[in-house]
């Protein structure tokens, strides 16, 4: 005999109470494959976990998502930790997730590829963001486990080749769920508290894929990218490539290689600096020697001979010049004298005496003034005729005027 009928909502409410008070269901871990994963706009993630025999709805709240160490995608085998919750109105239950682990190389590779693609798409690995590693750092920080082989190798190598650079060991967990947040916080902290740091080495020694996983987590990649101080990533062995390697400014194959990359060999530098200085000595000496040789060519007596020769030529030239000038002046004077003589002759030819010699004469009146026209003459006037050889007083007998003038 069935019990008294209940309402649907009462049934669902009852089921909810039963399931949510069950101690096993309040804290369970479930293995299965992710399918049908949806990242909702609200930030929550919905997916289904399945195996050969069944499936269960899963809900990953947005405040849990940042703590998940893996980029989730369909096909990944996971272990989901959480509790069962019932949606009364819909009448179904789901697994509410608190944490997720990924098991198996295949699923880790999927998560790795997925995150690598995502961050590459955002430009976190772009060459343009890579900062150069300082060639002569005053201080480097090493973010790693304080007890691992990596820190010993790094200190050993740095101190063997460099006695200048200060080293700050910043101890962090390098594996397990807490490692990635600690590493990210360490990078942020160094940037804040020790901004004078020239280079950060971030790394650890070799280990399994699971052990190295912290270096494949998004939070680490982002803090490397955000670091103003250049970061060298040095995780595991030569063959281990992590997301941190891609995000870092430089990748070292091993922690030891990172140490070589981070600091110069100071004894090599001393030798080099000395060789440059000695080279300068040699060059300066050769300059001086060349100068001395050049001075040798400048024999003073030869120089004197050259100078004397030059002054001789100059005075000879001056003398020649003077002779030329004298000749020129003499010939000019001669020409001038000739011209003066010609002028005098001309003047002499034009004097009254000479004209009179040709038969002309001058008539003067009683007062000795020359008479130029018949108008100035009168009958019986006494005049004086001046001509070559003397004068003659005479009397005007008759005046005949020409009327055409």
């Amino acid at each position: 005999m069935a019990a008294k009928p209940v309402k649907v909502s009462q049934l669902n409410s009852y089921i909810r109470r039963v399931l949510q008070t069950d101690p096993l269901l309040r804290n369970i871990s479930v293995t299965g494959e992710i399918s049908n994963i949806k990242y909702h706009d609200s930030g929550h993630v919905y997916f289904t976990m399945k195996d050969d025999g069944g499936r269960v709805n899963c809900f990953l709240p947005r405040d849990v998502l940042p703590h998940i160490r893996y980029e989730l995608t369909d096909g990944m085998e996971i272990v989901a930790y959480g509790y069962i919750s019932v949606y009364e109105r819909g009448g179904y239950y789901s697994l509410n997730i608190r944490d997720i682990d990924v098991e198996g190389q295949g699923s880790l590779s999927i998560a790795y590829e997925k995150l690598r693609e995502k961050l590459a798409g955002e430009g976190l690995f772009s060459e343009e963001h890579k900062k150069p590693i300082p060639g002569f750092p005053e201080k480097i920080a090493v973010v790693t486990s304080p007890t691992g082989a990596a820190v010993r190798d790094i200190i050993k190598i740095i101190t063997s080749r460099n006695d200048f650079t200060d080293i700050l060991i910043y101890p962090v967990l390098v594996q397990g769920p807490g490692a990635a947040p600690e590493i990210a916080a360490a990078l942020d902290d160094i940037n804040k508290k020790f901004p004078e740091t020239d280079t950060v080495i971030l790394g650890r020694g070799g280990g399994s894929a699971e052990e190295l996983w912290a270096f494949n987590e998004e939070i680490v990649a982002r803090s490397i990218f955000d670091s103003a101080i250049p970061v060298i990533s040095a995780v595991g062995h030569e063959t281990d490539f992590t997301i941190a390697d891609f995000a870092a400014d430089a990748r070292a194959e091993t922690p030891s290689a990172a140490a070589v990359m981070a600091v110069p060999d100071t004894s090599e530098l001393k030798t080099y600096v000395k060789s440059v200085a000695e080279g300068m000595n040699d060059i300066l000496l050769s300059h001086i020697r060349r100068g001395e040789e050049a001075l040798g060519y400048l024999d003073p007596s030869a120089f004197c001979r050259t100078v004397t020769g030059k002054t001789d030529i100059m005075s000879m030239m001056a003398e020649n010049l003077k002779k030329d000038i004298d000749t020129l002046i003499a010939s000019k004077m001669l020409a001038m004298r000739e011209r003066i003589k010609v002028c005098r002759n001309t003047l002499e030819n034009l004097s009254p005496q000479n004209i009179m010699k040709k038969g002309y004469c001058v008539l003067k009146d009683e007062n000795g003034r020359p008479v130029a026209d018949t108008c100035a003459l009168s009958q019986d006037q006494t005049v004086t005729i001046v001509m070559a050889g003397g004068e003659a007083d005479s009397k005007i007998i008759e005046i005949r005027r020409r009327h055409d003038e």
Partner: protein, 63 residues
Amino acid sequence: MSKEKKLTFEEALAKLEETSENLQKDDVTLEEALKNYELGVEYYRQCSEILENARQKIETYSR
């Protein structure tokens, strides 16, 4: 001269290399050579000083 401002090792080394190159030019006069040499000696002194006065510190940060 450069005594007023303290150069980093890398700056001083770059200057040292530069003066050394200037010194090696064929057309440099003896006067220029001497001037470069003097500068070079000063940069060499700065480089050596930095290298010789190295006091490496190794410490572990504790929160």
